[in-house]
């Protein structure tokens, strides 16, 4: 059996519908909402602010610190126990690494920029949605940035490479599945997040990266448009 038609009727190189909005959490210094299909991410940025404990201070540059959390009612089926588990901690770490290449904190020594990612509803691709929201929230907070980051998961479902796996594809049962979350720095095309579970050939990986770049350039435009919309000056 070959995967000839996607479960939700999308083209193989098509993401789910994307919605993005900047400045949704007023108390934060910067924030964003990013929705991809049924996966919803909020990101809020606080800082640069004082870092505790003090030994984490770096006199050369500020620190970027990310947190990732699924709300307890966010997934289908049983409640997710609150609190940071191993999975959440690892995702927070790779999110940090995905964003680090574009943020410049040399002007904020000894301080921290905190990025909080919260997911009220999930349907696969949460780390990618979180990174997209976080990149926008950092820009919204006015953190010095060299570039923006967009992310998408490429999947191999049976014999087909597909863009932006949803949960039904991630749990496809008639064949094997590989899940490859990828983050792309928008202007340079560099890859700042790459993970994979499943099996994949070297050629397939090459193709997956190409597909991710194309999808991310579309996502990048949506992110930028949402930011521009917030700061748009309306001429009366």
């Amino acid at each position: 059996m070959s995967y000839t038609k996607r479960n939700d009727g999308r083209k193989f190189d098509e993401t789910r519908p994307v919605e993005a909005k900047a400045g949704v959490i007023k108390r934060a210094d910067g924030s964003a909402y990013f929705k991809m299909g049924k996966t919803v991410a909020y990101a809020a940025v606080y800082g640069p602010r004082e870092i505790h404990p003090k030994f984490l201070q770096n006199p050369r540059k500020g620190k970027l610190r990310c947190f990732y959390n699924m709300m307890p009612f966010s997934s289908m089926g049983e409640r997710v126990r609150p609190g940071a588990n191993r999975r959440a901690k690892e995702i927070a770490m790779v999110t940090e690494k995905a964003l680090l290449p574009v943020v410049d904190l040399t002007e904020s020594p000894n301080s921290v920029v905190d990025v909080f990612i919260e997911l009220p509803q999930t349907d696969a691709g949460t780390r990618c949605a979180g990174i997209c929201a976080a990149s926008m929230a950092l820009a919204d907070a006015g953190i010095p940035m060299k570039d923006m980051v967009a992310a998408v998961s490429i999947g191999r479902v049976d014999d087909k490479l597909v863009v932006d796996l949803d949960y039904s594809e991630e749990s496809y049962e008639d064949g094997t599945v590989a899940d490859i979350p990828i983050a792309v720095v928008s202007r340079t095309g560099e890859i700042s997040l790459l993970q994979m579970d499943g099996e994949l050939s070297r050629d397939e990986l090459k193709q997956a990266l190409e597909m991710a770049k194309k999808a991310c350039s579309k996502i990048d435009k949506i992110q930028r448009d949402a930011l521009k919309k917030k700061y748009e000056v309306k001429n009366e």
Binding site: K38, Y46, F67, P72, S74, S75, R79, P82, F116, P120
Partner: protein, 258 residues
């Protein structure tokens, strides 16, 4: 808060108005949206001014507690998300979060607004367990009242998943709702005292100045079903009577949103 700000807020109250232009007993605009989540069995987003709180309901089938073998159970948890305020930190729930969860829980439990006997599937063996989580999205004050509203709205939005006696099929939601007694459902109004003034729905600048507060949870007929005093200063019996009066009055307004 510095002295100047303190006087600033108080000076307005002396004139019978809030620093943001509201009357003393005036809530900011309230909006409730239910069903923001497809994965939760019930969900609601409550917006009061710029405060945003989410509540979600998950259901599971568990063995009833030995002391209540013919009743289902309910649990409420609140998380003050670090994304919602510069003052909240990641980690296990802080005391503020625990207080919110417990006060909201008490109002619902003591009012008897959920018929927990109807949640029992088989005595001593199986009963529905209602797990409610409150998550703050933006803290612009009065999280407690917003949380209480969100929980009630999420409970009203809840649809039971299908259950075949062995496993719960979360993908199949039935049309059945939770056994709620609408007349008993409580609304929560927290009245805060600053100087000799009583205000509702404070914003963070005002919350910093609150000397004492009393949360009043009221059923439809005006019966009180939960109280919680907070703040560092005491209240007199006259204060309390006045606050309860305001709470009962305001609860009529809040009830219209449910």
């Amino acid at each position: 808060m510095n002295r100047e700000q303190k006087d600033y807020i108080l000076n307005f109250l002396e004139k019978g108005i809030r620093f943001d232009g509201r009357k003393l007993d005036e809530y900011r605009p309230i909006k409730i949206e239910t069903g923001f989540s497809e994965n939760a069995e019930g969900s609601a987003r409550v917006i009061i001014g710029d405060t945003i709180v989410l509540a979600g309901v998950k259901l599971s089938v568990e063995e009833p507690y030995p002391d209540t073998p013919d009743k289902g159970t309910m649990m409420i948890n609140a998380e003050l998300m670090p994304l919602s305020s510069p003052d909240f930190e990641p980690g296990p729930p802080a005391i503020q979060a625990i207080e919110i969860a417990r006060v909201v829980d008490r109002g619902i439990r003591e009012s008897g607004s959920i018929d927990t006997k109807k949640l029992c599937i088989k005595k001593e063996e199986k009963a529905w367990c209602i797990l409610i989580d409150i998550c703050t999205l933006n803290d612009d004050g009065n999280l407690l009242d917003a949380s209480a509203l969100a929980v009630i709205a999420a409970l009203q939005d809840t649809k039971m998943p299908s259950y075949n006696g062995k496993v719960v099929d979360y993908k199949k939601k039935t049309k059945e709702t939770l056994p709620l007694n609408l007349k008993k459902i409580p609304t929560s109004c927290t009245v805060s005292k600053i100087g000799n003034h009583f205000i509702v729905d404070p914003v963070p600048e005002e919350e910093e100045k609150v000397e004492a507060r009393l949360t009043v949870e009221v059923e439809e007929d005006g019966t009180l079903c939960a109280l919680q005093k907070g703040g560092d200063k005491p209240l007199t019996a006259e204060d309390i009577d006045k606050i309860v009066g305001i709470g009962i009055e305001k609860s009529k307004e809040l009830r219209k949103f449910l």
